[in-house]
Amino acid sequence: MTKESAGRDRPWLMRTYSGHSSARASNELYRTNLSKGQTGLSVAFDLPTQTGYDSDHPLARGEVGKVGVPIDHIGDMEALFDQIPLGQMNTSMTINATAPWLLALYVAVAERQGVDPAQLQGTTQNDVIKEYLSRGTYIFPPQPSVRLTTDLIAYTVQHIPKWNPTNICSYHLQEAGATPTQELAYALSTATAILDAVQAAGHIPQESFHDVVGRISFFVNAGIRFVEETCKMRAFTRMWDQIARERYGVEDPSKRRFRYGVQVNSLGLTESQPENNVQRIVLEMLAVTLSKNARARAIQLPAWNEALGLPRPWDQQWALRMQQVLALETDLLEYGDLLDGSPVVEAKVQALIDGAREEMARVEEQGGMVACVDNGYVKRELVQSHTHRMRAIESGELQIVGVNCFEKTAESPLTAGGDSGILKVDQRAEQEQIASLQAFRAARDQQAVASSLAQLRAAATGGENIMPSSIACARAGVTTGEWSEVLRDVFGEYRAPTGVDIAASGGGDAQAIDAVRARVRSTGEELGRPLRLLIGKPGLDGHSNGAEQIAVKGRDAGFEIVYEGIRLTPGQIARAAQEEGVHLIGLSILSGSHLELVEDICSELEAAGARDVPLVLGGIIPAEDEEALRNMGVRAVFTPKDSDMNTIMGSMVDIIRQSNGLDAAV
């Protein structure tokens, strides 16, 4: 390897999406990662922070510090970046509904470090549209959400010029089932919806609007079909250039460049034979680096064990080393674009562009991306695509090594250790966070808090840019929950369409589904009424794709499905189970808070007198927690390795039969 040889491209930014337990623990992790050669930071926030609740809010129970770091106030943010000079760091924050707030905290911490905010570099994800479609950490209705997004954009373009104010995400669309064409169409339609909104808001003078276009960046997914994915990136580059030129009149080519960061696909990572995920991740990384003209600016790779639970520092290091080997050892960065002039690539790119343009026209016809979120169109299309994918896996048409072919495996030494190969979050983290939050609240200047919150309310109501008053709140010691509460009060809350109202369609194993259907029907007859299931997601985790697929499949198997959607409290679940007279409750939990949530739900069911309704659980549940869950009364646990949906449906019928004293064999 030759260091910095002439003509060699500079490597992309290398990050690892991380954060857990507390600001202090995450800070240690960041500093270790930086010392290992990571060149930027990517902050994962916990779900209460992402959905605007303080760590001591009842909905936050069990979620604090689980999927990311809890940030309740400026003190936490300061601890998170302790000994990390913000003036020299490039920090990406995966934050959406509360993005203006976390950026305000970041700016306030920079001030305390003596750094001019104008020097700050980094990214706020700040794309709420895809939250409605996939990730689920939205709070407000679409209109005020778009307004907050555009406020942040307008503010940074004027005051923090090197900041990427929004990362339009096609990443989560692919996780929700989008095809490459849909990814292109919906991400680009989102980008134009946001830019149009910035233009309409009139904060930015027309003559400098090209600066806004130039600051828009994207966050993209790369799946295992890496040839098609490379073509997708080339299509993105070409389409964005055209949109910037034709729709927004941007002359400067550098401001029309499709700048994007990547996290490669998690949807395709498997729980069975998880070591195979390493080669999947490497191939997926190729998709976004191979073509120089469409190469990623920043890459973060998942760890091989993501489908099992939280990765440990060593797992993250391994993911970082994959990037380093490709960028530093191979000769990839020594050449120009390898794919220019390939007729095969060109034809594929053109086909993707044509398909995406058609779909963009359909979105435009219905009033644009925001309207298509609200009317459920895009969500329905995504659920449909995901259902096709699941059916293809079931029928074996789509082969996944170790899942539906070559399932036989030797014992893996990687998961044999005492920790089962995953990271355990310290159970005391939540209590410690709550205690420090309450001490912080008691010690601050209450007057300053009240007056800055009043300023925030006035800005939210009056239409003034939300950033200056948010930064004032950050300095005054306002908490995440307080900031969000004011905006909840002004803007209201929202529940997005679920998309599960798609038509039943063919495909999959017809014989298997017919057999399940017959059992659902006959068991219903024996019990006097059609079988009813309650499907829902407790806690703050909004990754609803799994729950939606189970709901659709359940309907197709003949169950009456009461689908309650995301962010349910244990009380709401118990109540719904009772009012709806369901035969079984199916819960989906991916955030790692299953033990706390299930415990609470069981006691709520007990209190409601509905403890006899059997409970099953699906999600990312470490095998070692299964016993504890079963002891609480959970009848079955389904994890990503249970990929055959007909089998899952069949097990649910078995459990219903058992709980009602019916013969198991039928």
Partner: protein, 321 residues
């Protein structure tokens, strides 16, 4: 059953759930119990409470509107029961019941109860269980609202089984106006254009609807109002609740409510008999018109009445199906 009826009278949530499950249960023993329960709870003159039907095309915001109405009614200290009906899949017989999602009610409030139902093959119509379930709910709540998807002829069902029918129209969709003009849509008592926040297009639909329903409702003594609401912005909801109440008061004052409720039950019986015994069955019982007239004169337990007709028919000959 006395115990269950008493618990229902006290508005206990587990009891309401149990009673609805019982009504839904087709096993012989459950049918007997359900019949016994209805005997205990049917109130011969329980007209103080209000049975509302809310219908309209998919996606128009019925559930959000229902949620907004629940808040207004709870603010007025009225106890509210909701029966939310969604279509079933013609292929599998299964259904996705997603209305609860938008009716995020206070989890500790015992004054609201939501039961979702599948139309069980009756698209836009009401399945067999709805009327007896309404009777249970009317015993427990001040307001009972039945929400259904209605796009054309089939919502006749709901017009025939509620005190006040409210049709919710989508701004910019000419369908509702066309249906009304063509007489395909039963004239509702109240027309609502939801999504008022869409602006000009909502205003246009509002005026189109207003001009197409000018005048008195066929029931008499009621001019059909056309209201604009926004469930998301919570505008027009209080006015809608007031108008619903005004219609209920008008029915109660006219002394017509008892007769109407008997008519709902008569329609339910007629439909069930026709479903199970066909037109031939109805002819055997004297024909649809005569039967309807006969049924309208008979208050009582619908399950007992159905069993009596069933008996008459099976005594004469085996059922047609």
């Amino acid at each position: 059953m006395e115990q269950l009826a008493a618990a229902l009278g006290a508005g206990e949530r587990p009891a309401i759930a149990t009673a609805l499950n019982l009504i839904d249960d087709n096993r012989a023993q459950a049918r007997e119990q359900a019949t016994a329960l209805l005997d205990l709870i049917i109130e011969p003159d329980g007209a103080a409470n209000h049975l509302v039907g809310l219908t309209g095309p998919p996606g128009v915001g019925k559930s959000s509107l229902t949620a907004a109405l629940i808040d207004v009614w709870r603010g007025r200290d009225l106890r509210v029961g909701i029966l939310a009906v969604d279509p079933s899949s013609p292929v599998s017989g299964g259904a996705l019941l997603g209305d609860r999602l938008r009716m995020k009610t206070d989890p500790v409030d015992d004054g609201v109860f939501v039961r979702s139902l599948s139309s069980r093959g009756q698209f836009g119509g009401l399945s067999t269980e709805v009327w007896p379930m309404c009777l249970v709910m009317l015993y427990c709540f001040d307001v009972v609202l039945v929400e259904t998807v209605g796009v054309g002829q089939r919502e006749a069902d709901i017009a025939h089984s509620c005190d006040t029918t409210c049709f919710v129209a989508q701004p910019g969709s000419g369908d509702s106006v066309q249906f009304l003009k063509a007489g395909v849509l039963e004239v509702p008592h109240i027309l609502v254009v939801n999504k008022q926040d869409m602006g000009a297009v909502a205003t246009r639909t509002l005026s189109e609807l207003a001009s197409s329903v000018q005048g008195e409702h066929p029931d008499g003594n009621w001019n059909v109002p056309v209201l604009a609401t926004s469930a998301t912005q919570r505008t027009g909801i209080v006015e809608l609740a007031d108008t619903l109440q005004a219609h209920h008061r008008q029915l109660a004052d006219s002394g017509d409510l008892q007769a109407r409720r008997r008519r709902y039950q008569a329609h339910w019986l007629l439909k069930r008999l026709e479903e199970n015994y066909g037109r031939a069955g109805l002819r055997q019982l004297g024909g649809a018109d005569a039967l309807l007239a006969e049924l309208c004169d008979q208050p009582g337990n619908p399950l007992v009445q159905y069993a009596q007709y069933q008996h008459r028919l099976s005594a004469a000959r085996p059922p047609a199906d």
